[in-house]
């Protein structure tokens, strides 16, 4: 088993259930030692992908390579891969010690006691060694599940919504903890989640999945700042998407949005199509009274009326109506609550943003893709 090592690669990877294509010919390279997240709404194929890497489902086609070895045909118990299951799947009849020792015992490892004790004290669970899983809190069970998998030193650790059952505060804490552990042990982590914040906090690289396909793959910052599809733009955070038409192309692409001229760096235009969605994140926009010209230097500007203003705590959110725009093209603006805002509902406002915060997507894509899904999760 030791000779199977290296990067994890999924090649032309496919899974069909009858007529339903759960995973549609994906190709992913996950470098050894990286923290990789598969992010997407439920039913997007992320869990199926994970289960196939674990060996719990057989792929319809394609390869699962670790280094140069195709493990796709190996039984789960022969793969150098371990899983942290959703809601943990700890063995209820065994105590914590035996749960953690389970994998070592099955492989006939010699110094089980030394390893288990060392591992339990590392995760500060040594005091609970003789308790049953049901006697532990959710957070402790989560740590047991992680320890039970990690003690086997797998080439790849798979995590299936590992923090889903925890409350918000504990989840935040565990996100940092997981990231720290991953950095320490240097094992490849593949993390499945529908929670974009969770993926962004921990992962080096995220693959956003939708309907069995990888929509976009990149670093959290890359995905957020420069989404390539409307699905990614909407599923990761929120985006304003406006109907635009490309007028001229150069280092900056000039786009007409209902008579207004908007500039976008050429590198941030993801399509050669003339019809585009012009996108900008709500928190990148400055809002000020129409008479205030302080942000004119930014370059992209629109004039409109504040429809709604809501105080959220960390920010104040505005919905701005621009004359001539479609009804569903109202612009959302988030303003950090540093100073009291000068703008009220009903005011005429000037909204401004930097062209380098603007992106353009193919207008053939659905402007609402991923939107409702992100809300529902």
């Amino acid at each position: 088993m030791d000779q199977i090592a290296g990067d994890l690669r999924l090649v032309s990877f496919r899974k069909e259930f009858g007529d339903f294509v759960a995973v549609d010919d994906i190709d992913i390279l996950i470098p050894k030692g990286s923290f990789f997240a598969l992010l997407g709404p439920s039913g997007c194929g992320k869990t199926t992908t994970l289960r196939m890497v674990a060996g719990l489902e057989l792929p319809t086609a394609g390869q699962i390579l670790i280094g140069d070895h195709d493990i796709a045909s190996l039984k789960p118990y022969n793969r150098p891969v371990n899983t942290v299951f959703q809601s943990y799947a700890l063995f209820p009849h065994l105590d914590i010690y035996e749960n953690v020792a389970f994998g070592l015992r099955r492989r006939g490892v010699k110094d089980v006691a030394t390893q288990v004790e060392a591992m339990l004290s590392l995760v500060e669970l040594d005091a609970f060694a003789r308790r049953k899983p049901s006697q532990l809190s959710g957070g402790q069970q989560q740590r047991v599940a992680l320890t039970r998998a990690l003690i086997n030193r797998p080439e790849v650790l798979l995590l299936d919504e590992p923090l889903g059952a925890l409350d918000l505060k504990l989840r935040r804490q565990m996100q940092l903890e997981l990231k720290r552990i991953q950095t320490e042990v240097g094992i490849t982590f593949v993390h499945v989640t529908h929670d974009q914040e969770e993926a962004m906090t921990m992962a080096d690289t995220i693959a956003v999945m939708n309907q069995g396909k990888v929509e976009q793959l990149g670093s959290p910052m890359d995905l957020y700042e420069n989404p390539k599809t409307t699905f990614v733009a909407n599923f990761l955070g929120q985006s304003n998407l406006l109907t635009g038409e490309v007028m001229d192309r150069g280092d900056f692409v000039g786009v007409k949005v209902w008579g207004n001229h908007i500039k976008i760096p050429a590198s941030r235009v993801a399509t050669t199509n003339a019809k585009v969605w012009v996108g900008v994140r709500p928190e990148k926009i400055y809002i000020s009274a129409e008479s205030n010209h302080a942000h004119d230097h930014l370059g992209n500007q629109l004039i409109g009326t504040v429809l709604e203003r809501s105080y959220i705590g960390v920010s104040t959110q505005f919905i701005v109506e621009i004359p001539g725009f479609l009804d569903d093209e109202k612009i959302m603006v988030f303003e950090q609550n540093v100073d009291a805002s000068e703008v009220k509902a009903g005011d005429r406002v000037r909204i401004s943003w930097d062209p380098s915060h603007t992106f353009a997507l193919d207008a053939k894509q659905d402007a609402y893709a991923g939107d409702v899904l992100a809300e529902a999760e």
């Binding site: 799947a89 700890l90 209820p92 039970r148 998998a149």
Partner: protein, 287 residues
């Protein structure tokens, strides 16, 4: 708060009352009577009446005379229980974990025998295993059974039918505990390097132990005291169980003190066997 607390205190007792009354009338009273009968002077009879003289010797006499039947009963019951477990476990496993949409239909089929009476089903077996049945002829033809050999009136027939009759009592508790086994635990065992049989041995079997214990008790206890199977399918020799002895002592010979003493001995033996078994099986979570 205190007011409602105190005023609700009688509720549990009220709920217990019908059951307690029922048991007092129809269980405790007869038990007491039976206990008294077991100590009567055995020289009496139904016609002349019995004298109560605390004759503990009834027990020693009963045990001395009928210990082979006791031993046979427990042996038959034990074999039937083991056979039922061997047949029912894979069946319950398949229904609980592998049957998908067929689960309910299969469960109904397990219970279906209850739609006809226990007596009728046992009688049907006398026809199935009878000397002129095709099953017996078949066994004779392939020389498993010698020419003129019988199945009816053998211990084999009695044990087979005991196994058959108590199979649902084994299957249902097994099904219940196997159904509670989270399939992801089986996946987790595989993920942690267990080959399928090892995963079963380490995870599924221990988790189904409450069902195994409940099923074996529900089979063994009534099978030890059963007399219908031995009466209908057994012969004169080698098949008489303790239930048949008690039955005849009460109804044919009118030997009430002996019959009562035998009943108590059977009860005591079962309690001791079961207590030892439950303790050995070590299922604290059973209750």
């Amino acid at each position: 708060m205190t007011n409602t607390d105190t005023s609700k205190k009688w509720v549990p007792y009220l709920l217990l009352a019908p059951g307690a009354l029922w048991l007092a009338l129809f269980f405790l009273t007869p038990m007491f009577n039976l206990g008294a009968t077991s100590l009567y002077d055995p020289s009496g009879s139904l016609e002349t009446g019995y004298v109560m003289n605390g004759h503990v010797g009834n027990y020693a006499d009963a045990l001395g005379e009928y210990w082979p039947q006791f031993l046979r009963s427990f042996t038959f019951a034990a074999i039937a229980t083991v056979l039922a477990l061997i047949i029912a476990y894979p069946l319950a496993y398949a229904i609980a974990l592998k049957s998908g949409q067929w689960k309910n239909i299969l469960l109904v089929l397990v219970i279906a025998p209850f739609f006809t009476s226990f007596l009728l089903r046992t009688l049907a077996w006398t026809a199935l295993l009878g000397d002129n049945s095709s099953f017996v002829h078949f066994l004779q033809d392939i020389h498993i059974l010698p020419e003129g050999g019988r199945i009816l009136a053998t211990p084999f027939a009695v044990v087979m039918c005991l196994t058959y009759n108590f199979l649902p009592f084994m299957t249902l508790p097994l099904f219940t505990s196997l159904e509670k086994v989270d399939p992801r635990l089986i996946e987790a065992a595989g993920d942690l390097y267990s080959k399928p049989f090892n995963g079963f041995h380490r995870v599924v079997l221990p988790l189904s132990m409450p069902g195994v214990v409940a099923g074996t008790l529900l089979t063994f206890i009534p099978a030890s005291g059963d007399y219908i199977n031995a009466q209908l399918l057994g012969g004169i020799k080698n098949t008489t169980m303790i239930g048949n002895v008690i039955d005849r002592a009460f109804l044919e010979r009118g030997a009430y003190p002996t019959a009562a003493a035998l009943s108590f001995l059977l009860m005591a033996a079962i309690v001791i066997l079961v207590a030892t078994y439950v303790k050995r099986a070590g299922t604290d979570e059973l209750v």
